[in-house]
Subunit: 477 residues, 3 copies
């Protein structure tokens, strides 16, 4: 192992405000929540990974290839996604070493980004690697991490325990049999809690690729004839119940806009029938999807699943990359979003329904103070979703708190979501959020806007109670 590269220590005060008085308060607040279990109500971890508990293959498969945060910035600096192993299935050692090397070579380009922050914390805290990555030591760090990955302490279940995860929600296709969730639940040696989330996007939008085929599968899996609109709705309701039976507490939805205008029954029937025969226009498909989003709220009022909305993303922006490497390869780009008018039809119908929870995320920061916080400050159902995707970063989380607290307080926010495919980044991401919240609350205390005893209660509330409450993840009976 060469000793040429720069070593670092994770500073205990990292991310706290620079002002000494505020920093001291932040330290105390953070200390209160540092060791609290992780509540992860939204993410993209594969439940089969925990059910199977196989060792992770290599450092690249763990840190580079599947993480589009990492690959997109390397691509932005001219690295071909193929060199990072994207879209190639399991990598052999040579390919894995190459992908890892590309990351190490471009380490300086990650300066100042949360990606670098997370990776540094993961490497230091989980793997004891606390040397800056660089080209000269790429193979050495690869070997060092790979050696650890082979040991039992680095298998998924061991890490789950070590990370202190209390509950982890996955994101799942409505037709998924949830066998991995069931296997975990039925395994007496497993003490964790992994719950599925009902994610029906591709079934609600008739113009989505392979919608017709999905509808057939839905019919088969639900054992309901989806040849009619009524059957389609019944099948969705049945699959929601199946998810609930497997521990689900929420649905998740990500469409380009938040339209929720319902159709009259006759129109819904007509468009559904046209969609089945492939003759519905794009406008009709969009109108149908908006109708179905309102229907999802109606179903949530009936069956109690919380409803999370992650809208406003133009998916697969670069066609050629999508064709070559598939989806989730770093070019999903946010677009401007409108909430106040778009959600009105849904909120007029279901916004004050007892027990209905609507968690509203955005990657358009201008919405925080203008639309989302005011809505959450009136509608009992509406929770402000955490800063997400491009915004789950120190500065964006600060801006978020300072933008929404005025109108929505702390009690109508939904806690942190890691939203990650990168399993090892979960503790680093939650810790970042706790540190930044501690810093924001320290500012409130230092400016005499909140007493310290109240701020202490608030940081526990933000870390633990709010995500459980918004996503209905209260302790299992």
């Amino acid at each position: 192992m060469t000793g040429s590269s720069r070593r670092y220590e994770l500073h205990p005060d990292r991310l706290f405000p620079a002002d000494p008085a505020s920093r001291s308060i932040a330290r105390g607040l953070y200390e209160r929540v540092r060791e609290l279990p992780i509540v992860s109500p939204h993410g993209h971890v594969d439940p089969g990974m925990l059910a199977g508990d196989e060792p992770f293959r290599d450092p690249a498969s763990l840190f580079v290839t599947p993480d589009h945060y990492v690959t997109r910035l390397l691509h932005a600096h001219g690295v071909d996604l193929a060199e990072l192993g994207v879209g190639q299935g399991e990598l052999d050692e040579k390919a894995a070493r190459l992908a890892w090397r590309r990351l190490c070579e471009h380490w300086a380009e990650f300066r100042g980004t949360p990606i670098r922050y997370w990776l540094e914390v993961e490497l230091a805290e989980i793997f004891g690697v606390n040397r800056r990555l660089d080209a000269a030591t790429a193979d050495a760090t690869f070997d060092e991490i790979a050696a650890k990955l082979a040991g039992p302490a680095f298998r998924p279940r061991a890490l789950y325990r070590r990370f202190g995860i209390d509950v982890l929600a996955t994101t799942d296709d409505p037709c998924d049999d949830l066998s991995a969730h069931a296997a975990l639940r039925d395994d007496p040696s497993w003490r964790g809690r992994v719950v599925p989330t009902f994610r029906p996007d591709a079934y609600l939008e008739p113009s989505a690729p392979a919608w017709r085929e999905r509808i057939d599968v839905l019919g088969r899996v639900a054992d309901v004839d989806t040849g009619t609109y009524d059957g389609y709705v019944a099948a969705l309701e049945k699959r929601r119940r199946y998810f609930i039976d497997h521990g689900a507490t929420a649905t998740d939805h990500s469409h380009l806009d938040l339209g929720t205008e319902p159709l009259v029954a006759r129109e819904a029937y007509r468009i559904y029938a046209a969609a089945l025969t492939g003759t519905a226009t794009q406008d009709e498909c969009t109108a149908f999807r908006r109708h179905m989003l309102a229907q999802m709220a109606r179903m949530s009022c009936d069956d109690g699943l919380a409803m999370a909305l992650h809208p406003g993303i133009v998916r697969n922006h670069h066609g050629p990359t999508f064709e070559r490497f598939g989806p989730d390869t770093g070019h999903d780009i946010p677009a401007r979003l409108e909430v106040t008018r778009a959600l009105r039809p849904l909120l007029e119908r279901y916004g004050t329904h007892p027990g209905f929870h609507l968690v509203l995320f955005t990657v358009d920061e201008s919405l925080y103070s203008r639309e989302i916080a005011p809505l959450a400050g009136f509608y009992p159902s509406v929770y402000v979703g955490a800063p997400w995707w491009f915004l789950d970063t120190p500065d964006a989380i600060r801006r978020f708190r300072l933008a929404v607290t005025d109108s929505a307080g702390f009690g109508k926010t939904a806690g942190f979501v890691d939203d990650t495919r990168a399993f090892c980044s979960i503790p680093a991401r939650h810790d970042l959020s706790r540190r930044v919240d501690a810093g924001v609350l320290a500012q409130y205390v230092a400016e005499h806007r909140l007493d310290e005893d109240e701020a202490t209660e608030v940081i526990v509330q933000l870390t633990d109670r709010q995500p459980r409450r918004a996503f209905k993840l209260e302790e299992e009976s």
Copy 2:
């Protein structure tokens, strides 16, 4: 009186920056304006309250029921507006105690909000109540405040004097006879200044509820036949003169958008006639309202009334609540707004007219640096309105100053507006604004962007000169 609940002191340095050097500068700047009289150029206090000078009824009527800032956040936490006395007229003691209790029970939910900040300051500074509200002491604090309200020192006029209000503008219907304003003006024992503001929204938008009936009343009150467009315009002009005769210096307008495209005369005649017979389309009604907003600017050039625009709010977002409780019940939600193009027709015609003042408010923060400050940085008529409604808070005011000063300086901003129905919150709101401005200016001084003697002049200017200047509230001769 129980002593179980937590007592607090209002910290003299509250809202100042945490950094000691900046804080020290902020203290000095604030001290310069702490005692300056209050100039309140826009708000919703009932002038009859001051004319009649009756004691306030009870703590709920004073602090809870009429204040949609308070009721909306309680509603967001599941409290029925009926329990808060909304829409029920005068409350009996039982109902008033219940409303107050609901506030006390949910006090923790107001943490970090300006609503809590204002109420704490009001309770401590006006009523000497400096214990945190909670369920256990709800009746005791109710009684304590109620006892004080019965005394002469807590009547509206006594409070007006104690608050140090120099001038207070109300918001009034064009057909209002302004008798309360006249009564105050003619009362030799009254030393204050309460001026009306001409708010014609409902008369300019033919699709507004009861527009036709209002137009008839307008004709009667103005003694002009409003059966023709020319008569309608003449009636509005006459009522503006009536307002001016009663001390008005400004008009106020709040439509969803800022369109100002004028109609050719023939079109204005035609649509007006159609509106009278109820046959104008929604598009025609909107076009007519935009035309009339430009007409209001033209009238301001003629009669000298400043023109304030508070656009971009979707009113009564939740239909069922509106039907049950009426307007102003906490679900007016901001929407995205466009200014540059919308105001162009108006500004091309009147933007450089000598003496014309256009005060431009927004609840869409993205407009500050992009559209409003650049407009105010060129057009002599345009003043940047203060952060308003969801934005009259410590963090939003800071963001406002740091967003508009670059392009518009301090001298094209319009000072603070409290915009409140909550009479007792007026001094707390103005004090908050002065503290935050002191903090922002302290940052400029600490970063050597402004000398301290200039910052001292600026804070006086922001507190006193700018609102008087923008709203033409110069000392009466």
Copy 3:
């Protein structure tokens, strides 16, 4: 010379954070780049000024009349542009003194603005005038500056050397013969580097004033028949090559929107032919311009010119002022902009082309975290342009860094551009940017998000490497 007005010293710590620990770090970072040469990849200096090297005429011609930042804020405070010499060609001494006096009289209105900051630095550092401007000393400072301007040390070339400018890009009409650039290049006594920038806006938009005449001139200058679309394209390509031969490394484009949808060839031919005969509709002209913007990207892929986009400005907002004083007179106002969808056609075609550089500016701050940084964080071609025009100020630059670094890091930003017509403001503007970047990076270091050795590398990178890289201004061979 009166001594009545207030003297000031430029504080060595100006613009650094107030917190002592952060300030100390900022000082060190700034010191590293304080004396680095200026790389100015985008601006509006007249190259003839440097070629001719005539003395500046007077203080008003240097600081007031041509600088729409200055004149617009004076106009906003009621000063007639005519009194500032706008649109009047060369001013006689009386007119120049009046313009200067108006600035001095209104000096207090510039408090807190970057305009005042730049002017103070320029007056103190270049002219040794370190007294606040005011009416009483207006003539004295005019004389003091005028006397210096007469001397050889204040001629343009001497100032260019004194300012430490390494390379200065101008903005030029495609039909310009670039004789000033050639004269400089061929002058053995000239050691600077002044490169032209190809700015074809008026040639791409058939509805722009005098488009038809321009196309004829283009044909003559390029010696290509522009009577056909193919000829028009060839003429543009030929002029780009002419610019490259004269040192150009970039093109620059400023349209209202960023549409880039290409036309099929037949449509392009048809609309071009219609435009030549004046029969193209506005929609066709817009579609053609969007097509041509994509064509410009295609040409950049072919000839290697970097492509800079400065969109989203409504030009000449106030018609009467435009008619009286012409363009660039302070009422170009930003408008909301959309990037993600508008640029998609261009980026799908050319976004990953090797060597293609697209520098994306905005005056709509909401785009930074939502659209521009995510695009730059994936597409190798996309660079985030510096905060520009209304945003090249201490607070906006801070907001910019904190909004884009999360998604794009430092290495996909394009460095600072001064974008100025005010030659003497160049060093003050670049110094401001270096100071603010030092402050932001100091915050990263103080919060333990970046080590100090890395921050030191980053500030050099932001100051020198990034603008050279994005605009292809690498050292000449």
